[in-house]
Symmetry: C2
Subunit: 314 residues, 2 copies
């Protein structure tokens, strides 16, 4: 407990929200939660570190807060699960204005309210400098129904929700224009695809799933690695985000991060929209290992994971 | 994912251990866990931040790793629970030698093995400098049996396990002697009191409980605050740690942190040892609010929370 922490905890406690599954929340050694019989527990943790995942002079505080929780909720979506509760560990340096922290929490809690996820605990600490936040999200899924990365089989279709590359393209614009702040239109607010993930789980429609947080090429490689398969995707089928009505360059849609769309495999032909979110069929799983991209010219080339490194100060 | 992270994740995956309750561990979007019917879930998160909670030139890497997990396990003990799984989010700066990180993990995993707690997931990230670790520990407790901070009633006895003030006294010696490293004898290795906590839960013997991580005066104040009561404790009854056969000054036992003993209340007279750990009866809960300390001179004085601020660089 350091100076200012008590006020911070009280502030979080006031806005944290309630849930019948949270038997005891903030204010004890542990939170106590109810897990319904017949369901298994999902757990994910994600760091948000200043000057690694965001820059205060580039990203707005509420966007950073929203993205922080999106990362956790998106992991729950990628298992086909329902969120149960979130926990926030927050370390704050003396260089952070209290108003910035307020707006960070506001962005995070706005998204929590949208999906009715209670903030049930966490930790606060002083940091030497900047903000370090670790978000923990718990969720549940019916027993044996979690959609893993390891279930893809040769011949299955590869699908992706929404559109890709928007975040990476915006960041690139910013770097080139040297503007002082990313203009985050609502179009590019991170959206965890919880409804789509649950539909896929309820309909046993996906054999393997991951969320696109590191970029399509990297995350597809994770599915291939865990499922011991390969993949071929078509450039023309990859849904590219649009900025000022123009689709972003293919490179951003292939290797950009921070998209939080769902990437999954299925033996079935699925509807064009699931839970209100457009779906694109972009390729097929292959028996031969490695990834291939069929270009706009119809030629198939080897595709390597793009190695998206989040954002880094040069 | 940044350079070196893949190797780190693989290293953790190899040593992480298994458990029948971990259905899917490291290597997917979420870990999948089984929670037995009839039990409720406990969740705790704790930050460990370089130059806030430890200093690399003062604390050994394995001690920092052990303390990191101890904080989480001790919170589970303070609810009377059993640990289910741990999750480690680890951010590492370029200034940290890989050997140091290895020894940090070794200290943490040694304690995990001691209590058969599987490391079921987490996150890794680059940090601008130093080490930031967030440990998440999940546990379970029979439904309705979690021992909260809010159950203390006037007239009940106040107990504490083990001895207090050892960590604070050692740190003070170090500051004064300007030695380069704390000589951590095994005597002062943090010990989460899981066996004692579970005994108290199984025997419905404790009405309120907390672990002494911020110091006796601060943690007793938390019980009083949440239970809407006061407390009187006797200086002569407080079990003080011994260094070179001499008891540490009362001040360290009252206000020092990092002890990880259990502080609890009970209407019953309890044995002198529980699960192998000595027990001391140090006072009683009072109806009148506020805390009082009866000194060695028999005089009762007001006792304020000591406001232990962890370790901070001056």
């Amino acid at each position: 407990m350091v100076a200012g922490e008590k006020q911070l905890i009280e502030r979080i406690r006031r806005v944290a929200g309630a849930s019948r599954d949270v038997v005891a929340g903030i204010g004890d050694d542990c939170a106590v939660l109810r897990v319904n019989p017949g369901r298994q527990l999902l757990v994910t943790t994600d760091f948000t570190i200043e000057n690694v995942h965001f820059r205060r002079d580039w990203h707005s505080a509420d966007w950073v807060g929203r993205r922080c929780l999106t990362r956790g909720l998106s992991d729950i979506a990628a298992m086909g699960g329902e969120p149960l509760a979130a926990f926030l560990s927050l370390a704050i340096g003396p260089d952070l204005p209290p108003k910035w922290v307020d707006r960070f929490l506001k962005g995070l809690l706005h998204l929590a309210a949208e999906f009715r996820v209670p903030l049930a605990g966490g930790d606060t600490a002083q940091s030497p400098a900047g903000l370090q936040a670790d978000i923990v999200v718990l969720g549940t899924v019916p027993r044996g129904k979690a959609i893993l990365r390891s279930g893809a089989r040769p011949g299955e279709y590869i699908y992706v929700t929404g559109s890709l590359g928007g975040s990476a393209a915006l960041l690139n614009q910013l770097k080139q224009s040297r503007r002082s702040r990313v203009a985050h239109s609502r179009q590019f607010e991170p959206q965890p695809r919880l409804g789509t993930g649950q539909w896929l789980s309820n309909h046993a429609a996906a054999s393997a799933m991951i969320d696109v947080s590191d970029g399509l090429s990297t995350d597809l490689d994770h599915i291939c690695h865990e499922s011991h398969v390969g993949a071929t995707i078509e450039a023309a089928s990859i849904p590219r985000a649009r900025i000022a009505r123009l689709p972003v360059p293919l490179e951003f849609a292939l290797h950009g991060g921070d998209d939080y769309e769902l990437l999954f495999t299925s033996p079935r032909v699925l509807p064009a929209k699931i839970a209100g979110v457009p779906l694109s069929r972009i390729g097929r799983i292959t028996k031969s290992r490695g990834m291939r991209l069929i270009g706009p010219d119809g030629v198939s080339r080897s595709l390597k994971p793009g190695g998206w490194q989040h954002f880094r100060r040069k």
